[in-house]
Symmetry: C2
Subunit: 334 residues, 2 copies
């Protein structure tokens, strides 16, 4: 009874205050959060970025991460994909009655570690508890605020014919890692999630060239869905080459076994950039300096042909249209 | 099958895009949200306020409101309680597979109406779908950003001996309304939730006097818990008078029947203000001009006695300590 979440932890009363004081503040403390007022006050000015994501990944612990690390990295990345420097996060927990407090402690430690790596502070939060059976263990929402440097205008709508498409590394790692943990599949080569904060990689890219038109992290729906979003938002066509797309042997084998196309499998530590052709090699070289970009590759380009569609030249030399994900490949992947 | 949420609505692929384009954007559209990038960009400067809340109320429809109205009002109010003018909200949905799309439409309409009343825009969002049985219908997270006027410093830590305590209206309406809907209780006098955005009331109060020290909306844990938070954060004592606390007959009767103490029952459209004594009558008069403050009353004062505790003089003339809520009175009230 002492190691589990009770309904009273979500009452707003004594046990709620205990949970905050004993389990959350010791790891996450900072002057803004410590005030514990209804909202946190911070100073900022300029173009600010605001984003939100709820995380419902199952299982909550997986090779390479857990729901806490994912909740920080995912929101840090969504800010970074507009070129913003992430500054502050909120943290809101929906916990199922009976959830283990020691598991919660692990997750809070992951949140702390990821926030430290990304250099963001959690400055406001909320905890709700629902009766057993009314949620599955733990859902986390993080929202984030960042500041966008002057002159940066990155949007899915900015791709232009001739632009090069850069992918920051191997695809499908997160989806296959979560899937293998969920289904207790053992692969010869174990696959770890790529879950990582990409804000410093993006800062380095922007430092090397401001001429980055689009950035997006291909999470749910994978690389194919992100490229289709760019094609539709920007009203252009995209051509990619299958043999340029980096993919780990373990992921390739798992996808073959499971019948998945890796271009639809979720990533949590990768980005796709659409950049001016003159700067593509320079940006690529810069990316390779960063641990999270060392496998980066130019995988294709933007074209005026086949508008609003993505075409892939396969390894066999054919060309096929790669549509947005239709249906659901892997529920609760993030 | 056409009127329910499928797992594929949360895939990030085609049905996710359909849901956003057909169900969410038509009601919530604004230039920042419409861009549909990973984060929304806005301009601001100064002291900004940031808050988050997840809403898990059950049932999702109740007399006087629904989870959508609550999710907007609750977050607008958390910003207002630091004296901030709410500007932007995020909206994140966790939906159970099989949830009714027409019920979702109703809730989106409530969100739109509440956001219009509060004059805030929803500029970024997220939708996740979990398998049937892994969540209860619909959970909503809203986070919010506001701007705090120069010179305003409102915090639960700012109460000083001699300050007056103002309550903006009747207590317990929200808790009893949700409870009666949940348990299908019929009371002689039906009780409606007080769920409302209080930002304009707060703006009027600040206009009439900047000497407002603390503001908080007594939600989970009720009036008693909020006053105990002030006493602890400010290291002072608080004395209130039971017969000054406004309470509706229907709520009083329901509380007697259910064995609840109304000072612990949740409110969603009320605030408690701690103000300098010289300005108390002026602020009170101003509050009574606003529809959400017409039953406002001075219910007590801050004292150097019984530090960090709240004492209530009862109708019978005794004095008793009113502690913070201990245990759980009503799970999933907000």
């Amino acid at each position: 009874m002492n190691d589990i979440i009770l309904l009273a932890h979500g009452s707003g009363g004594k046990l709620s205050h205990d949970l905050i004081q004993k389990r959350l503040l010791p790891s996450l403390a900072n002057p803004m959060l410590n005030k514990l007022d209804d909202s946190a006050i911070f100073e900022a000015s300029g173009h600010l970025a605001f984003t939100t994501d709820s995380y419902v990944v199952s299982p909550i612990f997986f090779p390479g991460g857990d729901i806490g690390k994912l909740a920080v990295c995912g929101t840090v990345n969504d800010l970074s994909m507009n070129g913003a420097k992430p500054l502050y996060l909120s943290l809101s927990l929906i916990v199922e009655e009976g959830f283990s407090l020691s598991e919660l402690d692990c997750i809070v430690r992951s949140i702390k570690a990821a926030a430290e790596e990304a250099e963001v502070n959690i400055i406001t939060g909320d905890t709700k508890v629902v009766n057993q059976g009314q949620a599955d263990k733990l859902f986390i929402n993080t929202s984030g605020i960042g500041v966008t440097p002057f002159g940066i205008d990155i949007s899915g709508a900015n791709a232009r014919a001739g632009d090069k498409i850069i992918l920051s590394g191997t695809i499908g790692d997160h989806g296959i890692a979560v899937m293998s943990q969920r289904e207790e599949l053992k692969f010869e080569v174990p696959v770890e999630s790529d879950c990582a904060p990409l804000n410093k990689l993006v800062a380095q890219m922007l430092n090397s060239s401001p001429r980055i038109h689009c950035l997006r992290d291909p999470t749910r729906g994978g690389l194919a869905t992100t490229l289709n979003e760019f094609a539709q938002q920007s009203n252009i066509g995209i051509t990619i080459e299958e043999n340029k797309i980096p993919i780990k042997e373990g992921v390739k084998a798992a996808c073959e076994l499971l019948g998945f196309d890796p271009v639809y499998v979720a990533n949590e530590g990768k980005l796709v950039a659409v950049v001016e052709p003159v700067d593509a090699d320079k940006i690529l070289a810069q990316m390779k300096q960063n641990n999270y970009g060392r496998d980066a590759a130019i995988i294709g380009e933007v074209t005026n042909e086949h508008s609003r569609r993505v075409a892939m030249r396969t390894k066999l030399g054919h060309s096929r249209i790669v549509d947005m994900l239709s249906g659901e490949l892997l529920p609760r992947i993030c």
